[in-house]
Symmetry: D2
Subunit: 369 residues, 4 copies
């Protein structure tokens, strides 16, 4: 109820604050028999962790994960899997100058009003650091989905500020610090220069991230309220700094006609994917395609007008180690959240419909990359 | 679990199909003591119902609501409120020609694959008709929020296909069939002509709808996963045909810098509302602003390629009584869903934080309309 | 949250008051493809309904059920099944004398304090009449469990006041008005005489009811908190007037030694059933055996001391049509609740463990009737 | 869904196995502003921990708790509180002899069948050790209830095998190893002798434990399904080895007449407490009284017939360090579970009914000890 658990059948309950002793989560509902160790989880955490390039926060955190339960002799037992990540770099003195004021665009004002408590240490629980446990849980979900259905979940950054980044090939995503699906040197150099310039200004910038799930079976998602796309929107909008979510054609649908938008069916598969792989809230077997807008970081060096806890005018500057573009590290987070939505619906579908047999084979699922 | 209940503390469990005997819902968690009768609910249903202009479906449904429980001597008792709406116009023969084929862009393919059942009668449970019970529940939520906090929830259509519709004043929304916030005759004439032309073509079109909640107290929303904006995205993306959701600056955030996006605070209130009234998932006291993209109706007269239940090529045309632009009737639905999200978070906030007192008065909430 | 929904994956959300327009429920999560009509449900409602003998309340209610949704062409569709039962005999003037006072042992005092509302019409929502929708839902659960697993759920009254009633054979349960599993004329005559005497006194009496589920597969139930026996205890204690619940040996376990209590295993099955079919919260494949204590009705003609709404001393007598032993009609209710617990756990087990294969065959399940 | 989370608004999600690296829980929904440190929790864990007398298991565990999150500057923040307890004494070789067989009356058979996994290390997740995290969470619930409402929750053992233990005074409970509410030397000597004899036999015995909550406000509990007594029954039956639960008069209600059972009301309070403090599922303001039956431990040295994983006959003896009467350590566990039920309903009541004002003062709550 208090908003720290994700999912219905495959649940992730997180805990921790940016500068407390530890962060982590309890994963409940993972099917038994999945082979699992820390080595399956750590690589995803490493993709998200700070300090991997000069374009992200320089906070030093190894984000080393420990599995505390739920795995026996290398396999999941069906009981809760607890993940623990100790916080290491807790230089909370960096935050001294914002203890009494509120950053424009930051949660510190609303948390204080809600709870009557001001945890000024690095944003406390509102820190994007709290996405790490979900990334850990997502690694487990990804592995299970891959083994059971061949499902592949991948993301990339498609826009940084005004710079759009063309999609060329998935293999490039891991080869640059921007999660860009390109190896075009001009594009990458522009991105580097853009970020370097931004850091000098002491400012931050927004971004667009896309995620795609391939090989998702037809039939996942619930009607009316827990539609697959509704749950995806919930998951993505819940990622820190996300301000907009699209499925398939998204906002382009506004100007489309029905004769253009509705993807025709042929015996060989769907023609086009305006639906983004979801029809009536239920997966169609096509690729699930999601796009999201990520706002610029609110913690910047540029001076801004604000108020203090007494309600008086104040000027605030943030000198801590912050990402100038939180969108850069958002790609593995978005992938994890999509994996968590999908595994949850996979289990929900099994509960109610495991016996369902339709009369004819499913149509072929065309891939559109 | 099976996706027919909305909410956590103020829950709405819906039932019914487009052409079954009845539709309705059970509302649980409504505080006791609210004065309530059918007269509070029917006007909202009337705003959504079919047949109110030539631009929407001509199906004849009075959508008369009956309260079956939960109200005694004119006041809510704290026990479940059941709403019943009998279906009246069940001309399911209209659907005869699509019994064996699947409409491109429609849920009939995915429902069939999921459940192994083909309820061909007007889309069965996937019909947008199933938004009516939520609109009824939303009327109750609206009334309670208004009485308790003065909260005002209103929506309007801001774009129809390529035609953008300027916002002028809330009072105009009820005075035209498009939920347009304008009385500009040129704009309204263009909308009429656009729709008339579309009907002649046998095609459909997308739309954009905005909803705004004013006088929302600071502090509603949960951290990490049940963020207020995440729950709003879930609610809106769950409305039939919605393909994208934005909060505040939405996708425009991508190209904004932090020094531009973060709304500064002053003793008199926030300056600007890029946040859309939500910071860190918690309401800030500013207006909650939401925008959504609605795809064109998939049931159109234009012939489309498809397959039949045997997987063979087929051509499908839909001759039933369908909305050429489902976006038109989406405004009251979006308002209702926003009301349901807000009342749920109001109750959640009371449960955990009713005793919280912050040290200083809240900053003034500027209205931006 | 507000306590009107039962279950996790197979949920039953009830509504209605004793003397309102109607009662009913929405059942969500029923697997698709189950053949279903009112004829499957009505017989169970008839077993519970009032007026079937002189030993139960003489209120006249046909309790005719209407299926409003979720069934198409005679089969469940996987979407919500709404059941509606109109109230017919609403002689609420019978309750006139208790409008201002509180019955000792009745919920009218606590409801008033909780909600600030006094629905004096027949107990409002606290009436045992509200078990009818659950009995309807239970009929569906029973049918599905029987078809899928051969599960058989049956109950009987084993004690009425001081009179213990020996179990002889299931076939007798339906042949007398007491749900007694005997056709011994002395026993039945004693029961009749006991009840006739009680009615003359204007008093009421407690009872014990047992329920048994046979052919429950091994493996249902969750560890730690949603143990199968914990959920059964929750379901039974939630039935109006139940004050105690036992599984297997129950309170007799207190004086047992481990060498006596633990049911030994042999290749042919378990020896004994002190466990009541549940080990560590998970079904063992043995019969699930449950016993419960039902308190005497609080609405009696005998004058009792009480207070009125102003807190002043008062004397209360209840002249409405009440059951002198609510335990008599509790048997079909207890069966229904057990069925609802079992189907919920069946689906939960499928979600997480549908792929589990143990190395050797399950041991034979001995029946102990 | 998978049964490792307790509660609705104040939730406790546990993790861990008897012989894994650690056990613990995440507590979500605790109101902010409660002063809290490990010193508030450790004493309750110490009451439950092993090795405190010769009558309980000799396993050496300090059960030292660490708070990982949710507390800042000595007060709860409203965000999740994670508790961590490292396992120290993991002599799993003790269990070597039961790796391949199943203990009569133990969960190892059902876990294996359910999950297809055999975690033979001390019962894995089915171990009573897993009650420790809930005891930790219960300590927090107790503290909050005491501070907010003066609620006092206490328990005692009232029967050990055939030996009944008279209740004399709460102060004695902490002064003997049995949680007996007496200082009668004869009674205590008999208990010592009984247990010593039992250990020599290599056998185990059942027990009865009672818990009482005083100063519970009227109005907590939900109608129909989440009745306060139903949730208590669920909580208690979920404690390892519990086979029966009673509220108030419990099974004695069977032979009571209505004129005897229903507690009369006077301006000074209720007369008697057959209800056990709950009417219609809602607290009445009287003491909540609960009694439970605890079966004898299944892990005993006495040889028993069983089967092995191949289904072949086998004889099993357990030589590990086990409690000969798990009932002894059950008292602090039962108190914790009652506290968790009550805090959950306190928050639920606030959510829906915080504004309710009844017309007259509540009647005085007589204490009955």
């Amino acid at each position: 109820m208090s908003g720290n658990t994700f999912g219905t059948l495959f649940t992730v309950t997180t805990f921790g604050e940016s500068h407390g002793p530890a962060i982590g989560c309890v994963i409940d509902g993972c099917p038994p028999g999945l082979s699992l160790s820390e080595a399956d989880i750590q690589p995803e955490l490493d993709r998200r962790k700070p300090g991997t390039s000069r374009h992200v926060t320089q906070r030093q955190e190894s984000d080393t994960v420990e599995i505390l339960s739920g795995v026996f002799e290398g396999k999941t037992t069906g009981t809760p899997i607890a993940l623990l990540i100790r916080n290491e770099d807790q230089r909370s003195k960096d935050y001294g100058n914002i203890v009494e004021t509120f950053r424009p665009g930051h949660a510190d004002y609303t948390y204080w009003q809600k709870y009557g408590v001001r945890d000024y240490r690095g944003g406390g629980r509102s820190s994007a650091r709290l996405t790490a446990p979900a990334v850990g849980a997502g690694a487990i979900a990804k592995k299970w989905l891959k083994e059971q259905y061949g499902t592949e979940i991948r993301g990339y950054m498609s826009q940084l500020g005004e710079l759009t980044i063309p999609f060329e090939d998935w293999q490039h995503v891991h080869a640059n610090p921007f999660f860009a699906a390109t190896d075009n040197p001009t594009v990458l150099t522009n991105l580097e220069a853009y970020m370097d310039d931004l850091r000098k200004q002491g400012d931050s910038i927004g971004a667009r991230v896309n995620v795609v799930a391939q090989n998702v079976p037809v039939g996942w998602g619930e009607p009316i309220y827990d539609k697959l796309d509704a749950d995806i929107a919930y998951a993505m909008m819940g990622i820190n700094a996300v301000k907009g979510v699209e499925i398939g054609a998204g906002f382009a649908s506004i100007a489309q006609k029905g004769s253009e938008h509705g993807d025709e069916l042929t015996p060989e598969g769907f023609v086009g994917n305006n639906s983004g792989g979801v029809l009536g809230g239920i997966s169609s077997g096509q690729d699930i395609t999601v796009s999201m807008a990520i706002k610029p970081t609110s913690s910047i060096r540029t001076p801004r007008n604000s108020i203090d806890q007494q309600g008086q005018s104040s000027v605030v500057q943030t000198f801590g180690r912050h990402d100038p573009c939180v969108g850069i590290r958002a790609t593995p987070i978005a992938e994890a959240m999509l994996a968590l939505v999908l595994i949850d619906h996979a289990l929900r579908h099994r509960a109610q419909c495991v016996d369902v047999q339709v009369a004819t084979p499913k149509i072929a699922a065309k891939k559109e990359g």
